[in-house]
């Protein structure tokens, strides 16, 4: 029992922290700085505890005698949990200045972030469809509120409404799908479903396939795959910068946690059924996302559009899994880590700049940025290069693994299309670098502040470079190989 409690601690600490923050937020003695520190404190403890349990290769169920097999504990979930908590910690620390520069932030904000992290962690541990749905809704509801946090701002409110109405509607698809699957299997537990699938002919599983396709609709909506993408640019634009950063880097990864678990383990024997649909969605996502990203004038909207393209790359690897590629699953994990690092960095810099001005950031506003803030410009260039998949960054290796897996599974044209969209992405990422470096600025160089947020951004940039070129020659420091080993470890713990 005690052992089970300890294993449940990382999740429990986050939700306790959320309640504590809710209570503290009404107190006058706790200003934003202190609340931020309290939130980071809880997340950090949770992160450290997850790190301690990592490497425990056996998967087991949490409180089996109470919850049945609703919650599973394995390295896969733990590694995702670490990314969520790390993402939340980085969001909170990097944006500390931003919180203080806008008057609409108050204490509940931190509680909401923690609640949504709790929802995501639950999602990555969920081993039962209703649990997964509840977890998804906990995370989503918190994020809906966060998106509309600036309630006097029309754009922000519009984004919130758009996201909430569409998101709730697609949430209903998840529910309907679960109901259909329950109708077929008689249970919503993933292990029961897996047993049912392995014992039934494909022709007799119509209900289950319809049900799981409906669940796929929800997943596709949340990651912004193209027929379900119309919300993504407006919502990312309307949300305050810290929230955009949180959604793009952390929330999106959470959706991949559940979809990988479903696709890799429980629906494994029939996942070739979706291959054609996935391929069609992938093609649309890559092309549509590229088009959206090219046509934007605001940097934030460009990053939103390009995040659709990154979902497209991940979808390539997902359909490669269905076609029997061995290397595709670790490739997805690796790409998620790479994308996480790069997008946290890029959005971090954006909100760092935004904390000092009220302007919308168009491409033109970056003219002469390199002379004003040379170090920030170097960091931003590194993040852009990594997102564009330029070699010597971790983003290149991510794309390398994804495209290799596509070729291995025989999807040569899809790999070609992926490389083509990677080429297109060079245009809109390099455009920002060009803006920063190729124009002179009238304003003189500003002193670079040396504080927590800049230090973290520098650390992200170094990690990206090291993840791209790092050798395993230096003892105790994992190189580029170390990241793919982590990814492999996560995937192997699933089975």
């Amino acid at each position: 029992m005690i052992e089970q409690l300890i294993l449940a601690m990382p999740m429990a600490i986050v939700v306790i922290g959320a309640f504590v923050l809710m209570l503290l937020s009404s107190s006058k003695r706790f200003n934003l700085d202190r609340l931020n520190l309290v939130a980071v404190f809880f997340l950090l403890i949770s992160f450290i505890m997850q790190y301690m349990t990592l490497g425990d290769h056996s998967s087991r169920f949490l409180f089996e005698n109470i919850f049945g097999d609703s919650f599973i504990l394995d390295d896969f979930a733990t590694i995702f949990d670490m990314m969520f908590t790390a993402g939340a910690i980085l969001t909170l620390l990097i944006n500390n200045d931003y919180f203080k520069s806008r008057n609409y932030f108050n204490g509940e904000y931190f509680a909401l972030i923690l609640f949504s992290v709790f929802g995501m962690m639950m999602l990555s541990h969920a081993h039962e469809l209703v649990t997964a749905f509840i977890a998804l809704e906990i995370a989503s509801l918190s994020v809906y509120t966060l998106v509309g946090y600036h309630k006097d701002n029309k754009v922000s409110s519009e984004a919130m409404m758009k996201y909430m109405v569409l998101g709730s509607m697609t949430g209903a698809f998840f529910m309907l799908g679960t109901a259909l699957i329950y109708g077929a299997v008689g249970s919503t537990s993933l292990s029961e479903i897996a047993i049912y699938i392995s014992g039934t002919e494909l022709a007799d599983m119509t209900l289950l396939i319809v049900g799981s396709s409906l669940i796929m609709v929800t997943i596709m909506f949340k990651i912004g795959a193209v027929p379900f993408h119309s919300w993504i640019v407006d919502v990312y634009h309307g949300a305050p910068y810290p929230i955009t950063m949180f959604m793009a880097s952390t929330f999106k990864i959470a959706i991949f946690a559940i979809s990988l678990r479903l696709y890799l383990v429980n629906f494994e024997s029939i996942n070739h059924f979706w291959t054609e649909i996935l391929q069609a969605i992938t093609i649309l996502t890559l092309l549509g996302g590229s088009w959206l990203a090219i046509s934007q004038k605001l940097v934030k909207r460009m990053l939103a559009g390009s995040s659709i393209v990154h979902s497209g790359y991940l979808l390539i690897a997902i359909s490669s899994i269905g076609l029997g590629s061995e290397v595709a699953a670790p490739a997805i994990m690796f790409y998620l880590i790479a994308y996480f690092l790069s997008s946290v960095g890029a959005f971090g810099i954006l909100s760092f700049i935004a904390s000092q001005s009220q302007k919308q950031m168009r491409y033109e506003d970056f003219k002469g940025f390199a002379t004003r803030r040379p170090y920030m410009a170097i960091m931003m260039s590194i993040f852009m290069l990594s997102l564009a998949g330029f070699p010597s960054t971790i983003g290149f290796l991510g794309k390398f693994y994804i495209f290799t897996s596509a070729i291995e599974s025989g999807q040569i044209l899809l790999a070609g299309l992926g490389i083509l969209t990677a080429f297109i992405s060079v245009y809109y990422y390099f455009k920002l670098i060009a803006m920063m470096y190729f124009y002179e600025s009238d304003t003189p160089q500003k002193k670079c502040p040396f504080d927590v947020s800049t230090t973290l951004i520098v650390m992200m940039a170094l990690l990206i470079i090291w993840g791209g070129i790092g050798t395993s020659l230096i003892p105790f420091v994992p190189g580029a190989d170390g990241f793919i080993d982590i990814a492999k470890q996560a995937i192997s713990s699933l089975r």
Binding site: S392, E408, I412, I419, F430, A434, Y439, D481
Partner: protein
Amino acid sequence: MMENILSNIIFLPLLMAIVLGIFRAPLKILKAGAMFSAIVTLLLVALLIYNFEPNGGMQFTKILPWIQNYGISYYVGVDYLSLVILILISLLMPPLYIYMYHERRKGYWYNMMLLQTGVTGAVLSLDLVLFYLFWETMLLPIFVMIGKYGNGMHQYNSMKIVLMTILGSMSMLFSILYLGYIYFDATGVWSFALNDLTTLMLNAKTSIWLTAGFLLAFAIKIPLVGFHTWMAPAYGSAPTPAVVIMSAIMAKLGIYGIWRFGYGLFENTLSYYAPTVITLALVGLLYYAIRAITEDNLRKMFAYSSGSHLSLIALGIFLTNVYAWSGSLYFIATHAIASAGMFIMIGLTYKRFKTVKISNLGGIAQKAPKFTFFFAFFALSIAGLPGTGGFVAELLIIVGAFKANFWIGVLTATTMLSAMLYIFWMLQRTLFGSSNNSCEYPDLSVRELIMLVPLLVLLLATGIAPSLFMPIFEPGLNTSLQEVLSSIGDLK
């Protein structure tokens, strides 16, 4: 020492740049550091040549594990072919740093050091992924230097060169990935090392597509005619050191790529593409020459001239006979030195007269004799003046072309004539004639002489005594030519 010498040569400039950058070195120390790294690299290369074994094949190899999960390793080595370009890049850096002596913008110096590492790494790497890494990385300093320090529509032109080059690199990346997969399919382990991949037996159809991926990248880099739209704008906008590197080294890397990876991996399929490439090269010879005749901007004129000569080299390596091959290799070296000298002279012209338009120049010969001498010498050595290395090289390629086919030979020979035409006409209009520019014409200073004289001596030495240099490269060249010929012969 000798074991790690290649890694030292590759990474010394980069390390120097990082150290100087971290300590935010003041301008004087930055300049000294850059010069120091260039000279030490040059000395290391000299040491390498001294220990180089002409019959030894691939030498000084070093393999370190990098991404073991995919069989990617840090794998470098040097043979006769990479040695030529390695010597060129390390020879050209010190004169360029002397040229940049008055340059106050720090970013310029950092970019040059990064560029040296990128180019050297690309030439020496024998793992395809490592090669791709350096191949892309060397583009970044060029991108920044054209965009930030260039002139004219430099922002647009720098974006254009980057996008076009990356389009080629991406197609090459696809081929690299596919090759790696074929190796994995055949053997069960991943590898991207060149000598592993050469053992693969590819079927004809796959091979044709994969070769196309590589060729596109190299054709854009050279550039063959039809893939050249980035060239003249980029050369026109780029600052002088960047132009020198682009024309003297980076364009040659396209040739190097065909030589190393084309003939290393797809020697049989290249004969499928040979008619296309030879036609493109012949069209290029004439087209670029005509554009050079009509061009008024000196930088663009020599951009076209460089395109014309590189088409000649590309033609040479697709005619697989010993004259054409040794001519091409020799021309890589001599054209690099001559065009470096020429572009430096154009840079000096711009510094003095603030224009590179031929129609605005004239009458230099009366006021600046030393300047005129060097200007004319480098221009004529580009045209293939007897006594300079370019003459020997062009003659060899033309002989090789006649050996392959009479008409190809005739068309190839026109390159010498047309080059004479545009060079002499340009010299007449810029150096002689009446001066319509009343400002002061300072002659070459001692500093400028120091950087130009070595280039001049080298060009004369390569022209008068080719036998000094050929023994180092000839055996390796013959062996690899025999290998290529025998494997093509097997096919027939």
